[in-house]
Subunit: 487 residues, 2 copies
């Protein structure tokens, strides 16, 4: 029987998860990753310019669970659950906002450690090879061949496959090649804000703040956030307009800035960590939406390569993992049409490694039928959530709605679902979540509007009834109103 | 005195016009063009997959005039003016719609011949070199260097410049390199329609149809258009949904299609030309908007490289030429701040070849300050105009508005200007034209709406007054209405 081979460009989080999935389904797997092996002792702790911790939630975990409940357990052993937001006021006061009325949590996880778990896992499969320090040079999507450059030796490595997967990140070379082979609609947008990470070290051997919350200092046009790490430090990220970054030039500017906006954080950081502002790299924030995500049966892009997002809903990785689960589901559907392809247990032993190109293409067409739209919805939600995190969380109307939606969710758990719950604690597609959220918003607005109108009408009637005589006004009787239209 | 050097990637229409301008302003100019020299007798008549004729209008001509009134004259000698649209009905009837109430025309021009005029012109300047069959391989926008590959010999040619201009078309390699150096927002969108050109040969040594119009067969979801050529043929272009193209499989399908939709064109084409449907290439239709268009003082993109459009307003080249005029105006402003930089005569002898990088950057910042927005507006207008051309021109409301706007334009030439006039016969920025057009639309709608309401109210009052008694209704008197609100 034919055994298909997949070549994956990129061995980051999504690439290594894809490798595990395809290996499990019986494929020969080759992964080519630009960076050095993170497990190599020489490289441990080498910081790249990416965020070092992420929040994994239901979608991400579901995808790992479908791969293997054991791996999910390994991951859950290294996460720190965050049950809500801890809002830090200007006066140093804090107030907690739960993510879920049912006590659910999102999980702070170290990008590097998670990547290592997945790399270890994919290498347990025979027939899977991971090549580090190899970057995609050329990809012929008709011939299904690719050339990678060994960055160390300068050598070119030529390979061919039945399917090429681009999991090579926000500036994906695979996405660029895809455009030579098919018409790709693209929207790429940089926002006027950047980010910088600052470290808040452990204090006397313990966390400097409550470790069960994601900390936010919302300051309307900018914000500071903090996620806990296993070593009891917090990774803090400052999100601000570029102009604000540029306005802080001296240590004096910086201290003034912290004193004005994040006074309670100063003793927690310590001056040394705050001063890293002048040496730490700043990152750009942008998103990329595109469609289609595939070319024939030959190539498909996943993760950031297919949908790079701003980070404000912590869904970048979760959506990327969901890509892989979706792709696997669609391939299983082709291999075993009689089995419920969404059921991880029922699919446990399905092999997809002898699917024909026609079957693979059928799966990829369905993939492009849903993922571009869903990931675009996710990006829109993330853009919206920046405003929520840095501003709305501080407003009365937001808190009132949060409270009301929470209560309604308890009474009618299927009719009213808070947006955060749909995005982070469910597998409802991002598109459906957005539609449902807009409907709920409209319904809530309508209720408020009807109440407002009834109240106003009552006030008006009462006003005329009781103050009318003094003002020379009276309410016409029903008979009078009716009469004037009759002869 | 320092003499700046410009390297231009692309020697098509916009690239060769840019070469002329920079040479005129005293720069050393190198142009690298991927295709072979169109003036080489071996290449004449070799058809590439681009449209062979275009419509040049006020913006394009203005830019050539600023370069040299003599060149403008040369161009005007090879154009065929089109004074309006000739609408072909399903029954073979035709009706003309003038482009301008003042008798203005757009001009059908052969892409190849226009390109040759501009190439000849730029080569009249000493210090200007054009290299054909060289394509951009690499561009270091910090070092201001570029490597072009000689397609014939395979050799790499390395060059450096004070300014690098990307005029290398819709799939611009320069635009791709620009993204490594600066944050570029991009929107690229393919529409679900494609196009195909068909030739309508001269009939008995003369034009087969009226040569002073752009012919349109508007068929709601698709259309056929025809532009006259110097050799008395017409180049016809079929714009249709891809699905429609695919539905025509046999000669029988094709003949049925033509008989149903373009019956009057069949004798004009002849069966042989119609059958080219099965061999002629089909083209995709897409647009690209992006911003910024420059990097420091080092590089700038122009023409299709900066703003690729769908062709429905015939503004792609005109906008590209306007780019070059704008760029020249901004550079002249830096070189001679006391001269009116928009006045071609006053600027005749200005040299910009010894501008400093700071001055060039100042000009490019202003360039990015206007051109991305203006060209995006142009693209939006072109997308809109597809609907107008293939459908609206057939509707009563469109014709009524066209008539009304025309009349109002005669009475108040500065207050009401038809959109087509602003776009094709003025140099009002595309953005301002769009704003003005929306305002006009709203004002016209308001007038219509007030008239409609007044008419309806009058009808209602008359109805109650005259038919009321029979129906048991009467109008309340003013005194009665007033009384019920008084005690």
């Amino acid at each position: 029987m034919k055994q298909n081979k997949v070549v994956i460009s990129g061995g980051g989080l999504v690439g290594s998860l894809a490798a595990c999935y395809f290996a499990k389904r019986g494929w020969i797997v080759e992964v080519y990753e630009k960076r050095p092996d993170p497990r190599d002792p020489d490289n441990v702790g080498k910081r790249n310019h990416r965020s070092i911790n992420l929040a994994i939630s239901t979608r991400g975990l579901s995808s790992i669970n479908r791969l293997s409940p054991d791996v999910e357990k390994k991951v859950m052993d290294i996460v720190l659950p965050m049950y809500g937001r801890m809002i830090h006021g200007l006066d140093g006061s804090t107030s907690a906002q739960a993510y879920s009325i049912l006590g659910k949590a999102i999980n702070s996880v170290d990008r590097g450690i998670l990547n290592e778990i997945l790399l270890d896992q994919c290498e347990t499969f025979e027939g899977t090879k991971v090549f580090f320090q190899h970057s995609l040079e050329h990809c012929d999507m008709d011939a299904k061949t690719a050339t990678f450059k060994n960055i160390v030796t300068g050598e070119d490595v030529f390979t061919s496959a039945d399917l090429i997967i681009g999991a090579d990140g926000a500036h994906s070379p695979t996405r660029k090649f895809l455009q030579y082979y098919t018409k790709v609609n693209i929207e790429q947008k940089y926002i006027d804000h950047g980010y910088m990470e600052l470290e808040m070290k452990a204090k006397d051997g313990n966390f400097a703040m409550d470790k069960e919350h994601l900390h936010i200092w919302p300051r309307k046009t900018f914000m500071l956030i903090a996620l806990p790490n296993l070593d009891k430090s917090f990774t803090c990220t400052l999100f601000m307009p570029w102009s604000k970054f540029e306005s802080i030039k001296t240590e004096e500017d910086l201290n003034e800035f912290f004193e004005e906006y994040f006074p309670d954080s100063i003793p927690l950081f310590g001056q040394e960590s705050i001063n890293e502002f002048f040496t730490n790299p700043k990152g750009a924030l942008f998103y990329v939406k595109c469609t289609p995500h595939h070319y024939k049966s030959n190539a498909v892009i996943v993760g950031d390569a297919a949908h790079c997002t701003v980070p404000f809903y912590a869904q970048g990785m979760n959506c990327g993992f969901e890509d892989i689960e979706t792709l696997d589901t669609l391939l299983c559907e082709q291999a075993a049409p009689l089995i419920d392809s969404k059921d991880p247990v029922a699919c446990q032993n399905i092999k997809t490694s002898s699917l024909t190109p026609e079957q693979i293409e059928a799966a990829l067409i369905k993939y492009t039928g849903c993922r571009p739209r869903d990931s675009a919805s996710m990006i829109d939600l993330a853009m919206y959530n920046y405003i929520e995190m840095r501003h709305s969380v501080n407003t009365f109307s937001y808190k009132a709605r949060l409270w009301l939606e929470g209560k309604l969710h308890l009474i009618m758990p299927k009719v009213v679902i808070p947006l955060y719950t749909m995005v982070s604690f469910s597998k409802i597609s991002y598109t459906d979540a957005t539609i449902q959220w807009k409907k709920q918003t409209k319904a809530l607005q309508n209720v408020v509007s009807v109440f407002t109108k009834l109240t106003l009408a009552t006030v008006a009637v009462l006003l005329v009834k009781y103050s009318g005589p003094r003002l020379g006004l009276r309410l016409p009787s029903f008979a009078e109103v009716a009469k004037i239209f009759r002869k």
